[in-house]
Every structure is written in structure tokens, then in C-alpha cells.
Symmetry: C2
Subunit: 351 residues, 2 copies
């Protein structure tokens, strides 16, 4: 059971708090062990949106597995920095980190981490309008720009307001895997987002930026069982549509066929295993391929110039504009980023 | 001054409430007239995330310009529907709508609107896991799937949890224009999202799904002054980078040059005016073109087969992969959806 303790500063932004709280509460609903707590220096906590909150003044017992998160407060008050937080509370933040715990902030919450001494010598970020000021106040910190969040040695800082959702989803993905994060995001009707220039960590998160319930349901099955053979008929039955409809909608939403999506997950798993020392043959079998041949072919394709390994996803509208009329036709748009470099072939015929 | 009244139901999801509250509060910070209020049947309101809230029991005076919004509550309690809301409160919802006001819901909040009789004969939506049940309870309602929100005659319903942000940004865009909504979204570090299969309403919202602060700052200037000549040097100075850097980053983030982006806004404005009866010549001048010639050329390009009018945006990674090394080169990727159908030409040379 991981505790997530929100340290509430007067004048906080509701969304800075609600985004991460909703992520961890949804993760708990889905069976992951999180318990949320809200602490403040006084029981009554005013917010920037005018809604009063009620917090505890006593902190729960914390262990190294727990997370303390400081949501940001109205930036016009940022000049006073973490003046709202007393030295003992700032000391708690530092002590939790020193004991091996994780400390996080959203938006101007980074000021609190800075005053607790947690940003010195570390990379961090905050709301884009506050980055210069944070850098001035903490010259030993490296303030990153154009990112959603920064993780440096159990100090996790996010950019403005809604980026707290991205931060929390990242922490869920690290602890429970990308499929768990994708399920949480799906339940909350958010998309996982790429962090600045970095490549998104997993195809399980990358191909979810669409609104098709049918396709999400098929992806849930593939994510959970991608190493097994998954006949299109079974996927279609699970999603409650015909094979033809599933393939069409899958292509419109993701730019891929269901099989191609499954292959991506297999290749990703295999590469992960190879990175940990497995042979190509063993990795291929563990990922669900019959042998290493198909894995080599798919890896070669994605690494080839013009290959699509670094492309997050085809925009749905572009894919939809050239969606195939039969399930055996390739779903990749002719000129889109998902075009297979070796020409157009019926993808389902490749297995 | 528009009042936004949040009707809080016990067990509500924090994010259902915080998303829209943050949008309207940010809009108020940016100079638009919104005043937020929180009402409930009892002062102490428990939430699904375990954080108690404090609301008023007395409603403010409402006028037709005002909005009443019902955030959703934990869905395991949804079986009891809006049993938490008494008949007099449900009557207030119906009366506000009957008086010309707008009523909105997030997620399971649609149950409250349904019990108030506001969904009968209307299109609506709710969280994807609750859509079947809502349709069963209200057979005269048309429950839409795979959308973020539905607007039908001042009854505005959104899908799950985070889609309340999309709903609120839509309402801001309708009342104050897409540039205002883009500024709110930018300040909150959210992206505006396309609503299901519909085309996003404005290029001002469509090309903001990136994290580059420099590019956002340049877009802020273009959005505000797109009918004027905007030399690249001036945009670059505003953004605090060289012309070359701005063009490179603009291309990586949006798939367009700054000029091409500005032209999109001009074409969009001109088409809006033509749709309202202006001549092409008058619309062209009002949108900032010297005469109708360039407008005709650009409209012809976007309407041509293979043109890019219906494409929301090139994925940043795809554009970055072929980003030009000089500012005079076209930023559209060779095989990407933004490719001009008439071949590659230096776009800045077109003015």
C-alpha cells in the first residue's frame, strides 16, 4: 500500500491537486494499492478557485515507498514563495526524501521543494511563466523548459497545472507498467502525452490518443494478452463489432491494424528483453513470435530510414481519410508516417 | 459577469469539478468576466478522493447568461442516480434552463440532468462505462458515443472525468473566440482536443498540441495580430530567439512555418466572412490579404484533393524528422499530411 500525501498550501489551484488525486484514486479503483491523504498547516484551506477544502493537520506515518506531492498555488502569490509553509513542514519534505521517499510538485509547488533544498544540484521544472524566477532563486538547480515533468533522483517536478496528470500517470507507468497507466488514463478520459522531445515510453500509451470506445476495448485485450495468438474474430467479438468494422475503426483511430499494433507490443517486449541480455531467439519466443525471423524482419523495418519507429502515431483524421474499405487492405495511409517502407501489403497476411 | 455555479453531489470526483473550475477561473484571470460559486444540499461535501469540500447551501441569483454545472460522482454510486439531489434542486436545474440559461454536466452528472427532464428529446453523452445505463433510463434521450461533449440547446454534457476540461474550453471558445480558449489552455498546460469525428473549430486551437514555449509565444502574437504584416524578425524578437531558430522550432512543433500558420488564420477568417455574405475581395482585405488573389490561391490549395484542410496537424515527431536546416526551406515534411499538393516551395517567398 503506497500512501500519497498531498501537502495543501493556501490559495492552491484545484486542478494541480485534483489531477494527480484522480489518477491515484483511479489506480486504486483498478486494484493498485494507493491510499490518499491531505495535510495542511491549518484545517481550512482556501483555494484559488474560491472553494474551501478541509485537510488534516497531522501527517500519517510515511515509509520510503510513499509519495508526498505539493500542488501549486496562485502564481500572483508566488512572489512570497513557500512562505506559507513553515520550516518544520519544509523539513518534513526534506526528511521524507532523505529517508528514500519520493517528493513531487505541480506548477508553483516547485518553490516548496526548492525551499526544502531538494532542487539544488538537480534537474527540475515548473509552470512556463515561473521558470525564470525559479532558476533565479535556485541557481544550483537546472530548470528544464518545454517538458511536462522532470524526474531526478526521487524528486519529481511538473510544469503548469494540468501537467500534474501527466506526472502522476508517469509514476503509475513506472510502478505498474504502461498497460496500467493506459487503463487509468482511459478511465479518466485523458490521453497520455509525450514528454517534450522524448519518445513516449511504450506503444501501449502512444496509440491511445483517440476517442473510439470499440478500439480502446480491443486494445485492452491486446495489451493484456499480446504474446498469445489473438484471432481478429475474437477481438471483434470482444469489442462487439464485426471484423471489418473493427479493422476500419482501428485504422482510423491508430493508423494501424490490430495485428500491426500487437506486433509493435511484441517487438517492444522483445527489445526490452534483448536489452536485458536475452538472445534474439529467446526474446522472440518470450514475446510471442514463433521464432526470431519475424522479429528480425519487424525490427529491421522499424529501424530502416523512413521506418516509423520514432513516430508517435498517425493523426486519426489523416488515417481516416484513406481508411480501407476491406479488412484485408493495409490501414496505413498512403503518404502518412505509418507507411511501411517496403510497400503496401495486406498486413494480416503476414502472420 | 457570467456566474458559473457548480452543484456538488456527495461522492463527486475531484477532477470532474476541478477541470471546469480551473478553466473558468483562468479565463477570469485573463480578463473574461466569470464568477464561480459552489452549492450543495449540505455544507460538507465528501468526495470520491477522500477530501472534504465546503459548499454554500444558498444559491446565488441566476440570469440567462449563467451556467450551472453538475460534476460527476463515483460511478459505483451511480445506480442510485441523482438520488442525492432533492426534487427542489432538480427543479432549479430545469427552471434555469427554462429561463434561457445553460446547464452542463460532467461524467455521471448527466444523471442529474436526466432526472431534471433535460435530456428528453436531446442528444447527450456521459462516461463510456455509463452510456448504456443512461440510454436505458432515458429512452427519449439520444446518447452519443466516442465524443468528448455534446451541446444541444443549452444542455451541455461531457464524457468521463477529464472531458469536463474540453467542455469548458469549448464554452470559452464559443463565448470569447478560439484565441481566448487557446490562451486559457496554454496557461493550464492542456491541449485542446478534437471532439470525436468533428473537425476542430479553429486553427488557433488545432496547432497548439506541443510543448514549445517559444513557439507558443510566437503563436500568441500571430493569433492576436494575424491581419497585420508580421515580419519574421519581429516574431523572433518577441519569442527571444533567432529567426532561424524560430522557424525550425515552429516547424517541429506545428509542421508549418510561422507565415503558413498566419495564412491559415487569415483564410479561416476570410471564409468566416464569406460565409456571412462578404465578397471574396472584401473578405480578403479584412483578413489581411492585399487582394483576393492570394486568398483564392490558398483556398484552392486547401480544397484540392490531397490538400490539408481537414488534417488537424502533423505529428511533431514526424515534422521534426524532416525539419529544414534553413529558414527559407519549407517546413512541411515530405511525406506528411501537411505537404502542399503543388510541390515544395519556400513558403516565405510567397508573400
Amino acid at each position: 500500500m503506497t500512501r500519497v500525501v498531498f501537502l495543501l498550501v493556501p490559495g492552491l489551484h484545484l486542478l494541480d491537486l485534483a489531477g494527480p488525486a484522480q489518477v491515484f484514486s483511479t489506480a486504486a479503483d483498478l486494484g493498485h494499492g494507493y491510499r490518499l491523504a491531505y495535510v495542511a498547516e491549518r484545517e481550512d484551506v482556501p483555494t484559488a478557485q474560491g472553494l474551501p477544502l478541509h485537510a488534516a493537520t497531522a501527517w500519517p506515518e510515511l515509509s520510503a515507498d510513499d509519495l508526498v506531492l505539493v500542488p501549486g498555488w496562485r502564481t500572483s502569490l508566488a512572489a512570497r514563495g513557500a512562505g506559507f509553509l513553515s520550516a518544520p513542514v519544509l523539513g518534513r519534505l526534506a526528511a521524507h526524501h532523505a529517508a528514500g521517499g519520493t517528493v513531487a510538485s505541480v506548477c508553483s509547488g516547485a518553490y516548496a521543494l526548492g525551499r526544502a533544498g531538494l532542487l539544488d544540484g538537480r534537474r527540475c521544472t515548473t509552470h512556463h511563466e515561473l521558470q525564470d524566477e525559479l532558476a533565479r532563486r535556485h541557481p544550483r538547480a537546472t530548470v528544464e523548459r518545454d517538458v511536462l515533468y522532470v524526474v531526478d533522483e526521487r524528486v519529481v517536478t511538473s510544469a503548469g497545472i494540468a501537467s500534474g496528470i501527466d506526472l502522476a500517470l508517469h509514476l503509475v507507468a513506472v510502478r505498474h507498467g504502461p498497460a496500467a497507466a493506459a487503463r487509468v488514463a482511459r478511465s479518466m478520459v485523458v490521453h497520455t502525452r509525450r514528454n517534450g522531445d522524448e519518445r513516449q515510453s511504450s506503444a501501449m500509451l502512444r496509440y491511445r490518443a483517440h476517442l473510439s470506445d470499440v478500439v480502446h476495448r480491443a486494445q485492452d485485450v491486446i495489451d493484456a494478452r499480446f504474446t498469445e495468438p489473438l484471432p481478429l474474430a475474437e477481438l471483434a467479438a470482444t469489442a462487439g463489432v464485426s471484423e471489418r468494422t473493427l479493422t476500419r475503426r482501428f485504422g482510423a483511430a491508430t493508423g494501424l491494424t490490430p495485428l500491426r499494433y500487437q506486433q509493435r507490443l511484441r517487438v517492444e517486449r522483445a527489445e526490452h528483453l534483448i536489452g536485458r541480455g536475452a538472445t534474439v531467439e529467446a526474446a522472440a519466443r518470450a514475446a510471442g513470435f514463433q521464432d526470431a525471423r519475424m522479429l528480425r524482419r519487424l525490427r529491421g523495418r522499424e529501424a530502416a530510414p523512413g521506418g516509423s519507429a520514432a513516430v508517435p502515431r498517425a493523426p486519426a483524421a489523416a488515417a481516416a481519410a484513406t481508411a480501407p474499405s476491406t479488412p484485408s487492405a493495409p490501414t496505413a495511409p498512403a503518404a502518412g508516417p505509418e507507411r511501411p517502407p517496403h510497400g503496401r501489403r495486406p498486413l494480416h497476411a503476414q502472420r
